[in-house]
C-alpha cells in the first residue's frame, strides 16, 4: 500500500515536533551537565577546556557535605513521619464517612495549592511567635506539611486498588480487625507505602523555597547550601553538583518505578 504525500508529511512533522519538545525539556539539563566539565572558574557554554576538578570541589566543600547530611536527616524523618501520618489519614478518608471528611481532605491536600514560600513563611512566623528555635524539628515539620499530600495520595490509590474481599475473607476466618490490618491490609499496601516514602524523600531532599525560610546556618540543607554558594562564587561547582543530583535522583526513581508503576502515584487523580 502506498502512502500519500500528506500522510508522510504528517508522520515526519509529528516526529520533528516530538524531537523539538524533547530538546526543550532536556536542554537546561544538558547545558548544565556540559558546563560542569569546564576547566575555568566561570559558568560558560560550551566550555573551552575540560576538567573534572569541580566534581572534586563539590565533594570536598564542607558546607555541601554538611548540607547533604542535614538534608538526609530531614528527608528520612520527614518522609517517615509523613508516611505514617498520611497513611492514617488516607485510611480514614477512604474507609470511614465522618462529618469533616471532605474538609479534612481539603486541608490535607491544600499544600498542593499553597506555595512553598507561604508554608515556609507561615512556619517561620509561628516559630518566632512561640519562641521555637530554628532547629531540625522545625525544618522537618515544614517538610512533613509539604510532602504529606503526595504520601496520602499514594496510600489512597493503593487502598482503592485493594480488594476488600480479602479483608472480608480474613474476617470470616476469624481474624480481628487489628489482625486483618497487620496480616492483610498493610502487607498488601507496602509497595504503595514504599513508593510514597521514596517520592516524599525525593521531594523533601530537593525542597528549597520553604527550607530557606525555616533553616539556619546549622540546619541548612543541600539546596540552601547551594544557593548560599552561588551568591559568593560563580564557578562550575554547582553544575557538577547538579549532575550528581540528577544521576542519584534518576537512580532512586528507577528503583521506585520497579516497585510499583510510579505513574500511578504521580498523575492518577484519586477521585
Amino acid at each position: 500500500m502506498k502512502r500519500s504525500p500528506a500522510t508522510l508529511a504528517l508522520r515526519w512533522s509529528g516526529r520533528v515536533l516530538v524531537a523539538v519538545i524533547l530538546l526543550f525539556v532536556l536542554l537546561p539539563g544538558v547545558v548544565v551537565a556540559i558546563s560542569a566539565f569546564n576547566d575555568r572558574a566561570i559558568l560558560q557554554f560550551p566550555p573551552q577546556s575540560w576538567s573534572l576538578r569541580w566534581f572534586w570541589r563539590a565533594f570536598s566543600y564542607a558546607d555541601f557535605a554538611k548540607g547533604f547530611w542535614n538534608g538526609l536527616t530531614v528527608t528520612v524523618w520527614a518522609s517517615s513521619i509523613a508516611v505514617v501520618v498520611g497513611s492514617a489519614f488516607a485510611f480514614a478518608i477512604h474507609r470511614y464517612k465522618f462529618a469533616l471528611r471532605d474538609f479534612l481532605e481539603g486541608i490535607l491536600l491544600s499544600p498542593l495549592i499553597i506555595p512553598h514560600y507561604t508554608v515556609g513563611l507561615g512556619i517561620l512566623i509561628l516559630a518566632s511567635q512561640t519562641g521555637i528555635g530554628r532547629g531540625f524539628p522545625l525544618v522537618i515539620f515544614a517538610h512533613v506539611v509539604m510532602v504529606l499530600p503526595f504520601v496520602m495520595r499514594s496510600t489512597y490509590i493503593s487502598l482503592e486498588n485493594l480488594d476488600t474481599r480479602l479483608e472480608l475473607a480474613a474476617s470470616s476466618l476469624g481474624a480481628t480487625p487489628l489482625r486483618i490490618l497487620f496480616t492483610v491490609t498493610i502487607p498488601l499496601l507496602i509497595p504503595g507505602l514504599l513508593s510514597g516514602w521514596l517520592f516524599a524523600a525525593i521531594l523533601s531532599f530537593n525542597e528549597f523555597t520553604a527550607t530557606l525560610f525555616v533553616s539556619s546556618q546549622a540546619t541548612q540543607t543541600l539546596p540552601v547550601a547551594m544557593y548560599n554558594y552561588v551568591r559568593e562564587f560563580a564557578d562550575p561547582t554547582l553544575a557538577a553538583l547538579s549532575v550528581i543530583y540528577i544521576v542519584v535522583t534518576a537512580t532512586l526513581l528507577t528503583i521506585a518505578n520497579s516497585f510499583l508503576g510510579l505513574g500511578k502515584i504521580l498523575n492518577v487523580d484519586a477521585h
Partner: protein, 382 residues
C-alpha cells in the same frame, strides 16, 4: 406476602422436622441501602448438612442475604441464628463461617499453605496441628503438591480449590459459596460442581450457595430459595420448584415455560380445572385462589410437556411450526398458536423424528401430556 410462611411449613416433610435445630435460621431479616430495600423480611430455615441454594437474577438480594449471614452486613430488622445461637450482632470474625468468593479472594502475598493455614493461625491452633490439618485440607481438594506456590501461579480452578480448602479447614458451622463457578470455563465448571457436591456430602457441612444459574441450582441443591426483587419467592426441593412453581416469576425464571391462555372452569379441593381451547387440564388450586370461576388465567407449560398430534385431533390446539432447532438429543419446535397463546410456544420433541415430521410451516395440533401444569392469575410479562 403469600410466600412468607407457606413454603416453609409446607415443605418440612418429616414429622420431627420442627425438633431439628436449624443450622441457619433467618427470622424476618430486612436490609435497606438508603431508600431501596435489598432484602425484604426474609424467613428461612436451613437444616444441618443441607445444600441450600439462593437462586435469582442479579440484584435480587441473594448476595445481600449471604453477606448478612456472614456478618459482613448488619440487618436493619429481624434476627439471624446459627446453630440455634443468636448472631444478629455478632461480628464476622466470631461467626465461624467459611466463605468462597467469586474471585476466590486468596491472599496474594501468602503461599497456598499459608492461605489455608490462616484461619487456624487466628484460632491459635498449635503449629504441628496446623501443618497436619493444612495437608489434610489440601489433600481433600487434590492439591497436595502445591503448598509452596503463590496464588498467582495457579489456574482459576486450582485457586478455587485453595479457597475451598481455606474455608473448610476451620470446620465452619456453615459454608457460604458466592457464585464460585462463574469465573470458570464451562468444562471445568461441570467437573468442579460434581467435586464440590461430593466434598460437601462427604463432610456433611451445611452449605449456602448463591447463583443466578438455574442449571447449577437444580443439579446441586437439596433445596432452592428462589429470590427476586429482595424477596424469597419460594423455598422447595429442585423438582418441586420446577414442577410446582409458586408464582409466575419462579415458573418463568426456572426452566423454560410457554404461557397459554386458559379459563378457570371449576375448583375441586386442591385442584382447579382450567380449559384451554377444547382441552381441559388440572392445576393446583392455590395459585389461582383469587380468580373467579369463568375468568381468564395464564397456563404455564414446560416444553417437554407438549406433544404434536395431527391437526384437528380432538382436544388439541391448532398451531403452525415457525422454527425448528436441532439440539442433538432433541428438537425444539417454535409454534405459533394465535388462538391459545400470545407468544410463540416452545415444544421439545425427544429424538430426531420431528425434524422430518414437523417442517417449518407445518400445520399441527398440540396436546398437553402431563399433570405438572400450573396456572396463575393473568399478568404482564413475569
Amino acid at each position: 406476602m403469600l410466600m412468607r410462611t407457606d413454603p416453609m411449613t409446607a415443605d418440612m416433610p418429616s414429622v420431627a422436622s420442627d425438633k431439628i435445630r436449624p443450622a441457619v435460621q433467618l427470622d424476618g431479616v430486612t436490609k435497606r441501602f438508603g431508600d431501596s430495600v435489598a432484602l425484604h423480611e426474609a424467613w428461612l430455615k436451613i437444616r444441618p448438612s443441607e445444600f441450600m441454594t439462593l437462586l435469582g437474577p442479579s440484584g435480587c438480594g441473594k448476595t445481600t442475604l449471604l453477606n448478612l449471614i456472614a456478618g459482613f452486613l448488619e440487618a436493619d430488622n429481624g434476627e439471624i441464628f446459627i446453630e440455634g445461637a443468636l448472631v444478629t450482632e455478632t461480628p464476622a470474625h466470631m461467626r465461624e463461617i467459611g466463605i468462597v468468593f467469586q474471585n476466590y479472594a486468596l491472599f496474594p502475598h501468602m503461599s497456598v499453605a499459608k492461605n489455608v493455614a490462616y484461619g487456624l493461625t487466628t484460632r491459635g491452633v498449635e503449629k504441628k496441628e496446623i501443618a497436619r490439618r493444612v495437608e489434610e485440607a489440601l489433600a481433600l481438594v487434590k492439591l497436595s503438591g502445591f503448598a509452596d506456590r503463590k496464588p498467582r501461579q495457579l489456574s482459576g480452578g486450582q485457586q478455587q480449590r485453595v479457597a475451598l480448602a481455606r474455608a473448610l479447614v476451620i470446620k465452619p458451622k456453615v459454608l457460604l459459596l458466592d457464585e464460585p463457578f462463574s469465573a470458570l470455563d464451562k468444562n471445568l465448571r461441570g467437573s468442579m460442581q460434581v467435586e464440590l457436591k461430593q466434598i460437601q456430602r462427604e463432610l456433611g457441612v451445611t452449605t449456602i450457595f448463591v447463583t443466578h444459574d438455574q442449571g447449577e441450582a437444580l443439579s446441586m441443591s437439596d433445596r432452592i430459595a428462589v429470590m427476586s426483587a429482595g424477596r424469597i419467592r419460594q423455598i422447595a426441593a429442585p423438582d418441586d420448584i420446577y414442577r410446582r412453581p409458586a408464582d409466575r416469576f419462579v415458573a418463568s425464571f426456572v426452566g423454560d415455560a410457554s404461557v397459554l391462555n386458559g379459563r378457570l372452569v371449576a375448583r375441586r379441593g386442591d385442584v382447579a380445572v382450567v380449559s384451554i381451547g377444547d382441552m381441559s387440564v388440572n392445576v393446583p388450586a392455590t395459585p389461582t385462589a383469587g380468580v373467579a370461576i369463568g375468568d381468564a388465567v395464564d397456563v404455564f407449560v414446560r416444553p417437554e410437556h407438549l406433544a404434536v398430534t395431527p391437526r384437528g385431533a380432538s382436544g388439541s390446539l391448532p398451531g403452525t411450526v415457525t422454527a425448528q432447532v436441532f439440539q442433538g438429543g432433541h428438537v425444539d419446535l417454535y409454534i405459533d398458536a394465535p388462538g391459545s397463546a400470545r407468544e410463540r410456544i416452545l415444544l421439545r420433541s425427544p429424538g430426531i423424528a420431528a425434524l422430518s415430521s414437523c417442517p417449518v410451516g407445518a400445520e399441527i395440533g398440540l396436546t398437553i401430556g402431563s399433570d405438572d401444569i400450573v396456572a396463575f392469575p393473568p399478568g404482564e410479562a413475569p
